[in-house]
Amino acid sequence: MSIQFAPDEAEIERRVEALLFAAAGPLSAADIARRLPEGADVGRAIASLRVRYEGRGVELECVAERWRFRTAPDLSFMMTEEREEPRRLSKAALETLAIIAYHQPVTRAEIESVRGVSISKGTLDLLLEMGFVRLRGRRRTPGRPVTYATADRFLEHFGLASLYDLPGAAEMKAAGLLDLSLPTGFEVPDPSRAGADDEDPIEDGDAPEFAQDFVGD
């Protein structure tokens, strides 16, 4: 049942609407374009759908640079049957998540230096396991510490189109609050970093060090 004529704008819009409705997850413009005739203006169709659904019970939203339909936030009170009891994040976990989100890529030591306490066991695991946070790479500094960043799941959960949309990020950046390097000569003692047992030194020979770490009796 192939279409012989080139579909017009309205038809493209219909198809994009259908694709987004049917999809199990958010779709990128590229995902959508792949299923449309060549040359279809996906961006235009999305923009026009967005206007069409504005103020409706269902709205088109951009998360992690992908598009999805979702119910209007002001109707949340009605959705009792669909609501899932979210896993409670502790205050510490939330703060850690915020630091990772606003400072990424960020090392464990940097997170700890902003909070002034070492990260308790379980905090990072939980965030990793929930898929909000991912390991991103290694900092090219001595010790080559692993850096953390947020994952798409984080943006999808909080309905953010991209990291630029983090609330207040621009203001914080302008105020220098997202700068990880501290002012010169800053020497508040950092007791959380005093003991090295909470650190995970990364060296060439990960293995022997590890053996020491874990196997030691």
């Binding site: 049917a22 979210p86 915020a98 902003v114 306490v117 390991l135 002012p183 800053f186 005093a194």
Partner: protein
């Protein structure tokens, strides 16, 4: 969103107490010295950068004092912060002509840096609040409950994260280890009852202070408990005898040698060990 990042905050718990020097001593509510400082700073009701560090230091010292008075066990980092603040305060109060030693930055700079650090922590606090205030998936907003039977899977990416890769690897290695699990011999321990009997036998000979290792049985060749087990059980048994009033134990410092002596006659080296933390 901008509004959420204005410097006015409502730390209601702190503000309700109002009084200049009163604060809530509730360590559970704070995660560390910096969090306490932030809460205290809020009582000054000024921009964090214009904070009076001297006053903040006083408040913090009073906080630590109060906490100790109420017998909270304070972590070392609270005390380190206290002494550093006391030092900073004294430097701030000194006339400016008095130069700090060596290459230490001026006290005002250190104070400003502390204020800045508090501001950063504060920003993250507000950021996490602002995030939680957003509509969240499956709590406030919902995607289609019943996607089409012919599901369109977003396919320009593969769903596998580094974390999953690590988890898969560790899971495999664990299983591998479990398959080759080969229990080692049961560790034999020197029973406490035996240690008690041993100690009672030897007690008459402990007229003088004797090191623990000379009191404990010495391991001989062949199977049997390890030397560590002999030592540990003998120590446990000796503490029981101390409780019974049959002997004394002392130690000069942590990790120093432990000395044992029967109670009663004989030249003593001092008071018995006090088992208080």
């Amino acid at each position: 969103m901008t509004e959420a990042f204005q410097p006015n905050l409502d730390f209601t718990a702190v503000e309700e107490v109002d009084a200049r020097d009163a604060f809530v001593v509730d360590l559970d509510g704070y995660e560390g010295p910096l969090h306490v400082l932030l809460a205290l700073a809020r009582t000054q009701k000024v921009d964090l950068l214009k904070l009076s560090i001297t006053r903040l230091a006083e408040q913090y010292l009073a906080f630590v004092h109060e906490a100790r008075r109420r017998n909270f066990s304070l972590a070392a980092d609270y005390l380190v912060m206290a002494s550093w603040l006391a030092y900073l305060k004294s430097r701030l109060l000194l006339p400016r002509t008095e130069k700090g030693k060596g290459d230490e930055p001026p006290a005002e700079e250190m104070a400003a840096a502390l204020a800045f650090r508090l501001q950063k922590l504060e920003a993250m606090r507000k950021a996490s609040d602002a995030l939680m205030a957003r509509p969240q998936l499956k709590r406030d907003v919902f995607t289609r409950g019943d996607p089409e039977a012919t599901v369109i899977v977003p396919s320009d990416r593969i769903d596998a994260s580094l974390y999953e890769l690590m988890a898969a690897y560790v899971g495999q290695r664990r299983k591998d280890q479990a398959r080759h699990y080969n229990p080692t011999q049961r560790v034999e321990a020197f029973a406490l009852e035996e240690a008690r009997d041993w100690l009672r036998d030897i007690l008459p000979r402990l007229a003088d202070w004797t090191p623990l290792e000379r009191v404990a049985p010495v391991r001989d060749e062949g199977p049997g408990p390890s030397q560590a087990s002999f030592t540990a059980s003998t120590l446990s048994a000796s503490l029981e005898l101390v409780k019974e009033g049959a002997m004394d134990v002392r130690q000069e410092w942590a990790f120093e040698e432990l000395w044992l002596k029967r109670r009663g006659q004989g030249p003593g080296l001092g008071q018995p060990l006090e088992l208080t933390p």
